[in-house]
């Protein structure tokens, strides 16, 4: 069998093989073909002799290192050595010389431009006759593209693994191909559990159709961005997620799957919901505030109207008074002298004047500030009050309407000023009258009765109502009639004093307004107001409980003023002109109004009798007194100061 020898034509560097069998070598056509294959090989093929000189250099080697065959053949392979790795070539040749085949020996070489080239060398010995190694043949693989690819791959892998978003790839059948760490955290499944499994495991039953649609769009080359949906975790929780899905295509453009980036937006959704709730809450607040503002604006307008009505009523009351006084006085004078046959006529005139006088008083009550007197704890007995205001109320209904009253005798006084009660009920009677204006006849009744149980302070509630047999209200009107500005009356007829004003007055007194009405059944408006608390002290002559007071003030004007105020406060008053100490017995006076004639000793002796006792000193205080139970009111008489101090003392004494 002929032996082979490869020779390289120095001019071209093209190797050729010759068969050699002791004779002169002859070119071998088949081997030359093989040499052409080697030369056109994609990998660099280099041969060196044992001295390390380059003996073969193909076209691929030229591409990798930039040197032509002419530049390398016959020169030492060390010319390709890179700094720091110069010995690698010698090491390799040494191993080959020993007959070893070296696989994938990775090292650095240097190209013609001085750039390092990372290579993997596979080398084997070239054996001459009798097993003598004549050199080494090497396939040198340029690792640069692989390194670049590997770097890119690692970079992408790192990006995917460290992403906060779940990144999943799946194939055309929806089977999971990759599953990153964030996907593990988000959905609870490990990569091992998911790889090769259908992505449907994450999709709630009712959303499976989504997946089909998404795949259709992906196949059409579309990308799905920020698709918000819901997915299920391994432990069954539902997550709000935002998906961005891109089609995966091979180098040939073939669709082979999809990559999904899923972002957990549960927190964002929660925040959005919270924000929406806050926004709603804010809107509610704004609406409420606006309504409050409207209501207070309305109250302001009402109070302006009340003020102008008050001015009108006050002016009318004054003028009526001026007109009536001379008529009444002259009539009184005539009555004494008039003959018997004129008495009936005179009495009729007197009745009319009395009625007009009541109307005048009623007008004055309308003119009062309804809130003014409440602070003083004023109370009003319904039956007595009605007799005062009946004439005024009569004037508020048309002539053909009968106004009656039913003020129960056992009804206690209410904790409301006379003016406030008058204004509230006047409005109700007026409304009732208006409701009956179009009818040929009608009936309005004002009534009062005891209602319900006692409240916390021990006093009960009183219901004061106005009932008419008019057309009644529809449900809508009934629901809205307390609203500001609401009126069923034509402009011009409506005084605008409305039920909302009545409600305001009654609520300030601690009460409430109730309406009962239906079409064809008339209307009843009821003021439910607290009864005045019963006085806790001793029993008075009029059946009310009251306390005793002693007024020993030398100044008769002040003394009589004090007595009148105390009587109104339900005190039974005794008085002596001198400042002598009052009796200290248990049933003695609880309040002593005195002046400078009192001594510290007499005051102390009085106070000792009962811890509730109080002393009011008019003028200069006589020495050091117990400031918690004795108050000094300076002279001359200031009625507001005196009254205020008397009310405070009365409250202390009566334990209110």
């Amino acid at each position: 069998m002929a032996k082979l020898r490869m020779t390289v034509t120095p001019a071209t560097g093209i190797p050729s093989f010759v068969a050699w069998g002791g004779r002169a070598p002859e070119p071998c056509a088949a081997l030359s073909q093989l040499a052409a294959v080697v030369n056109s090989c994609e990998e660099a093929v280099i041969a060196v002799d044992l001295e390390g000189r380059i003996t073969a250099w193909n076209a691929a080697a030229e591409r990798v290192f930039g040197y032509s065959a002419e530049e390398t053949l016959g020169r030492p392979a060390a010319m390709l050595g890179a700094p720091g790795r110069m010995d690698d070539g010698a090491t390799l040749i040494e191993r080959v010389r020993r007959g070893e085949r070296v696989e994938r020996f990775e090292t650095l070489r240097m190209d013609k431009e001085g750039r390092p080239v990372r290579v993997a060398i596979t080398a084997w010995p070239v054996v001459e006759r009798a097993g003598v190694v004549a050199g080494a043949c090497m396939i040198v693989r340029d690792l640069t593209p692989w390194y670049e690819w590997e770097r890119t791959r690692r970079l992408l892998a790192a990006v995917v693994e460290t992403s906060e978003d779940a990144i999943i790839t799946k194939d055309v059948d929806g089977l999971v191909m990759t599953w990153n760490a964030a996907a593990e955290r988000m959905f609870g499944y490990t990569a091992e559990e998911m790889l090769g499994r259908s992505i449907n495991i994450l999709i709630p039953e009712e959303r499976r159709a989504e997946e089909v649609e998404i795949m259709t769009r992906l196949r059409a080359g579309e990308r799905v961005r920020h698709f918000e949906t819901v997915r299920r975790t391994k432990d069954g929780r539902l997550l709000d997620i935002s998906l961005t899905i891109s089609p995966l295509r091979g180098p040939d453009g073939e669709f082979f799957g999809a990559s999904k980036i899923a972002r957990d937006i549960t927190e964002r959704k929660r925040t959005e919901r919270l924000l929406a709730e806050h926004r709603e809450h804010l809107n509610e607040l704004v609406e409420r505030r606006t309504a409050e503002l409207r209501a207070s604006e309305h109250r302001l307008r009402l109070s302006e109207r009340m003020a102008s009505l008050g001015t009108l009523a006050a002016g009318l009351g004054h003028d009526m008074g001026n007109l009536l006084l001379p008529v009444r006085m002259r009539l009184e004078a005539i009555a004494d002298l008039a003959p018997q046959e004129l008495r009936a006529d005179l009495q009729a005139i007197e009745q009319t004047i009395k009625y007009l006088g009541q109307l005048t008083s009623g007008l004055r009550l309308l003119a009062h500030d309804p809130g003014g007197a409440e602070a003083m704890g004023e109370s009003t007995a319904p039956a007595e009050w009605w007799s005062e205001v009946a004439a005024l109320m009569r004037s508020a209904v048309p002539r053909h309407v009968a106004l009656t009253s039913r003020m129960g005798t056992g009804v206690p006084p209410v904790r409301m000023s006379k003016a406030a009660l008058t204004q509230a009920v006047f409005n109700l009677v007026q409304n009732a009258g208006d409701a009956l204006r179009q009818r040929s006849e009608g009936r309005v009744e004002a009534w009062a009765e005891v209602a319900g149980d006692a409240d916390a302070s021990g006093a009960g509630m009183v219901r004061i109502g106005v009932t008419d047999d008019g057309p009644g209200m529809t449900e809508e009107v009934r629901n809205r009639c307390m609203e500001p500005f609401f009126s069923t009356k034509p402009r011009g007829i409506s005084t605008g004093l409305g039920l909302s004003l009545v409600q305001g007055v009654v609520q300030r007194a601690g009460g409430n307004v109730e309406i009962r009405s239906a079409p064809g059944e008339g209307t009843t408006v009821i003021l439910i107001v607290p009864a005045a608390a019963p006085a806790p002290a001793g029993e008075g002559g009029n059946g009310r409980r009251c306390a005793r007071a002693l007024v020993s003030v030398a100044d008769s004007r002040t003394r009589s003023y004090v007595k009148q105020v105390l009587s109104a406060l339900e005190f039974e008053c005794a008085s002596d002109g001198a400042g002598g100490p009052p009796g200290a017995s248990a049933d003695g006076p609880m309040l002593w109004v005195t002046d400078e004639s009192a001594t510290p000793a007499s005051v102390a002796a009085f106070l000792e009798g009962d811890p509730r006792r109080r002393v009011v000193v008019y003028g200069q205080a006589p020495g050091d007194l117990d400031a918690t139970r004795v108050v000094t009111v300076a002279a001359p008489l200031q009625p507001t100061v005196m009254r205020d101090q008397l009310v405070r003392a009365a409250r202390a004494v009566l334990n209110r």
Partner: protein, 144 residues
């Protein structure tokens, strides 16, 4: 306790009101009322202090709603300069604030024009006995 001057049988009353009808009626009744004597009348409070000095009435019936000098200012001056003359307000306005201001200025009484003449005459007598008189309507308006 009567402060009637010795030897004078009746209470001398001065009436102040801008309404001629009111004034006329009061004058007419006072002239006929035993124990009361009309000493004069004024249609405004402008010359009240001088008139009181000249006529020395025991009681003045004073309206509050009149043109000219503010009656409560005149009342305060009168209280200071002629404390023996006692003033009763006779007004168509019955409001707490007016009553308080009147008492502060030194009024001895406050009556409503709704009161009848018998009530007015009785008030004049009671004031002369040293009592402050607030008619029932006035007491109600005080809201104690």
């Amino acid at each position: 306790m009567s402060v009637l001057p010795q030897g004078v049988a009746s209470v001398r009353v001065l009436v102040v009101d801008d309404n001629a009808d009111v004034l006329g009626a009061l004058e007419s009744r006072l002239r006929r009322e035993p124990g009361l004597h009309l000493t004069g009348s004024l249609a405004c409070a402008d010359s009240l202090v001088e008139t009181v000095k000249r006529l020395a009435p025991d009681v003045v019936l004073l309206d509050l709603d009149m043109p000219g000098r503010e009656p409560l200012g005149a009342l305060a001056d009168l209280t200071r300069e002629h404390p023996r003359t006692r003033v009763i307000i006779l007004s168509g306005h019955v409001r707490r604030e007016l009553i308080d201001r009147s008492v502060s200025a030194g009024a001895w009484g406050y009556l409503s024009k709704n009161d009848d003449f018998a009530g007015i005459a009785a008030a004049v007598r009671r004031v002369m006995e040293g009592e402050m008189v607030l008619s029932p309507e006035v007491q109600a308006a005080l809201g104690t």
